[in-house]
């Protein structure tokens, strides 16, 4: 089997139907397991009791622009902080994850010489649904 290489440029995602391709420089879906360990007479036994996913996004800030994604995120954080937003994350063609994220406040501001950036860490509700 030939070596497969996919890059961050294969990634695309939408949050609430808004496409982030123009602004996002990084997007990562990370899942963690809470795994309990039990010491039995036969040795160690393991049991996963919970899963927690986060969706991390790094993006160039676009405050003030028409259709600003930062302003959309701010508005939804203000108006519906506890309501999940439909998110579709494509890691590469043929690997799509669908899930809901809870709103997260975008940061504002930055250092003088550089483009302003925003780091977001979204809490994912439940376990993403995959389509491979």
């Amino acid at each position: 089997m030939a070596t497969t290489v996919i890059t961050g440029r294969d990634v695309t995602f939408t949050i609430g139907g808004n496409n982030f391709d123009a602004q996002a420089t990084s997007a990562t879906l990370i899942g963690e397991m809470t795994r309990e360990t039990y010491q039995t007479l036969d040795g160690k036994a393991f049991k996963v009791t919970d899963n927690n996913f986060t969706f991390n996004v790094e993006m160039l800030a676009d405050w003030g622009a028409t259709g600003s994604l930062c302003e959309i995120l701010w508005s939804v954080s203000e108006s519906s902080p506890d309501t999940g937003i439909n998110t579709v994350f494509t890691a590469a063609s043929g690997a799509v994850f669908s899930f809901q994220v809870l709103p997260s406040w975008p940061s504002a501001g930055g250092t003088a010489p550089d483009a302003q950036t925003v780091s977001l860490s979204f809490q994912v509700i439940g376990v993403p649904t995959e389509a491979f």
């Binding site: 440029r9 294969d10 995602f13 391709d21 123009a22 996002a24 420089t25 990084s26 010489p113 483009a115």
Partner: protein
């Protein structure tokens, strides 16, 4: 009409410099006339920093070279500093401005010029 880097990035930058006291070029001319301001690629020139492949979006690193005649060192440096400041004042929104490199003496044609480079970067999206 294609939205080339020349049309959408370098020429608008050169247009913004219309008010500065120097000859402005969006590319390197064969024989620039001092004092001059010329926009040239930096290294790395293009960086693909955003996700997605549906469109080519790239960070563009440019150098704005600002040059004055090198006749007398104190006057040349003063002239260069004034030209650099006037350029910094008119760089349009959407450009990140980096460092201004130390002035160097460069030979352009038969004469010496004092040149300083201003590093800037912006983003370009190919739309057609």
């Amino acid at each position: 009409m294609p939205n080339t880097i020349l049309d959408t990035v370098r020429t608008p930058l050169a247009t913004a410099f219309a008010s500065v006291a120097g000859n402005v070029y969006a590319y390197v001319p064969e024989t620039p006339m001092v004092p001059f301001v010329v926009t040239v690629p930096d290294s790395p020139y293009l960086e693909l920093e955003t996700i997605g492949k549906s469109q080519i979006r790239t960070k563009i690193n440019l150098v704005i070279s600002v040059a004055v005649a090198y006749n007398s060192n104190p006057a040349s440096l003063d002239n260069l500093e004034q030209l650099v400041i006037s350029v910094l004042k008119v760089i349009p929104a959407g450009y990140a401005i980096g460092a201004v490199e130390k002035p160097t003496v460069t030979q352009v044609g038969p004469s010496n010029v004092l040149v300083a480079d201003i590093r800037v970067s912006t983003y370009y999206t190919q739309t057609n």
